[in-house]
Amino acid sequence: MKKFAAALLAFSVFFILSCSSTHNFINKDVNPKSKIAVIIGETKYSAESASYAKHFTAGLAGGSRLTVLTQNQVKAALGTYPERIQGPYKVIGMEKPKMDYTRHDLDRLAAIAKKLNVQYLYVFWFAQSVKEIAGKDEVTKYWYVGELIEFPSRRIIAQADSTMFYFGKDTGVGDAPRSIEDMCKVFSEMYVKDIINNTGIAK
């Protein structure tokens, strides 16, 4: 029953993600001749954030016509990177983050875009994480917030507010992600594809 339930959960989430857009697109026009950087906004889950940023950057560089800064270039230009940037959400206790765009530190992001000399930032936050355990079965879930923003106009192109996860090695769920690295690779591919397909920047 447990393995069935875990598999059902994984299937359901993958089904939902694969059949619908992962981002909400407020605008869809992105200049493909522009420069973009992927920015980590939350430092609490450093391994997860670094892996996701690496995969997301590689996905954009490989699939879009945008010029994409590497994470090393971002770090070299910003000096102290990554640092916490106030995201458009509020977390309290163990609750799912509540979206609150009044908290969004767009000034900080604008300063980063200017320093990096890029026209777009994709900034993301792993805002909260829980590990659920049932016998030998485990799933680690992350509440994810991501945004594609144009600068200096500060125009929001896309926003994501969703959940990512990976399963423990003893949980029978087929090809679902099994590690932080797996999770970051699988979900970043899905999310990059969504951005590319909806903004007309594909190679």
Binding site: A5, A6, T43, G93, M94, S129, V130, E132, A134
Partner: protein, 210 residues
């Protein structure tokens, strides 16, 4: 990372309502206590409430403690908005507490601070220049949520809150606390729980004020 243990996986997967979170709250810990027995804080003095870590929970609890302390009018409380202007990188990118004390029963009931934490607090004091600095942080946070076959669910939240009160100009730890707080509600109201915990800490501090 919060660890959650499910009670009923089938219900969890279908309804996402049933999970059980490991917790140990039998020992509630220590309320705010002066290091020197009989030491009482001086009303009217200035105080800055500082978040021990840059986690959202610590920052929000600190804001609530600061608000509650201001409302008592017992101290000249430096507002969080002013502290943000005075202390570089505070609160999002500054953690003054650089150790974990959860589970270490021996250290939990002492005014323990690492030398590096103390040095960071002293550096903050150079900017805020208050008579007291109260450092507040959430050392542990747990929840137990049980959903019932007949419908509905109940939730109990637990939070281990630590504090250190440093008195200046001597820079010594004058008081400290390490207290598990517990809250039961139908919907698991974390915000209400944080408000109750902040109110309780302020009340304990006022009890040790002249």
């Amino acid at each position: 990372m919060f660890y959650v243990k499910k009670v009923n996986v089938f219900i969890m997967c279908l309804l996402c309502t049933s999970f059980f979170y490991n917790c140990s709250s039998a020992d509630l810990g220590k309320k705010y206590t002066p290091v020197e027995p009989g030491f009482m804080l001086e009303p009217g003095k200035s105080i800055a409430v500082i978040s021990g870590r840059n986690d959202d929970n610590d920052i929000q609890l600190t804001e609530m403690v600061s608000e509650k302390l201001t409302a008592t009018k017992k101290f000249k409380v430096l507002q969080q908005s002013d502290i943000k202007k005075m202390v570089p990188k505070y609160p999002l990118n500054l953690s003054v507490i650089d150790f974990s004390i959860a589970g270490d029963q021996a250290k939990r009931y002492t005014p323990y601070l690492t030398s590096t934490s103390k040095a960071t607090i002293d550096a903050v004091h150079k900017s805020v220049k208050t008579d007291y600095i109260l450092v507040v942080w959430v050392e542990g946070i747990n929840a137990q949520i049980v959903s019932h076959y007949g419908g509905g669910s109940s939730q109990t939240n637990y939070m281990l809150v630590m504090s250190r009160l440093i008195s200046y100009p001597d820079g010594n730890v004058a008081g400290y606390s390490a207290r598990w707080n517990e809250d039961s509600s139908i919907f698991g109201d974390w915000e209400g729980f944080f408000r109750d915990v902040s109110k309780s800490l302020v009340k304990d501090i006022l009890n040790k004020t002249k």
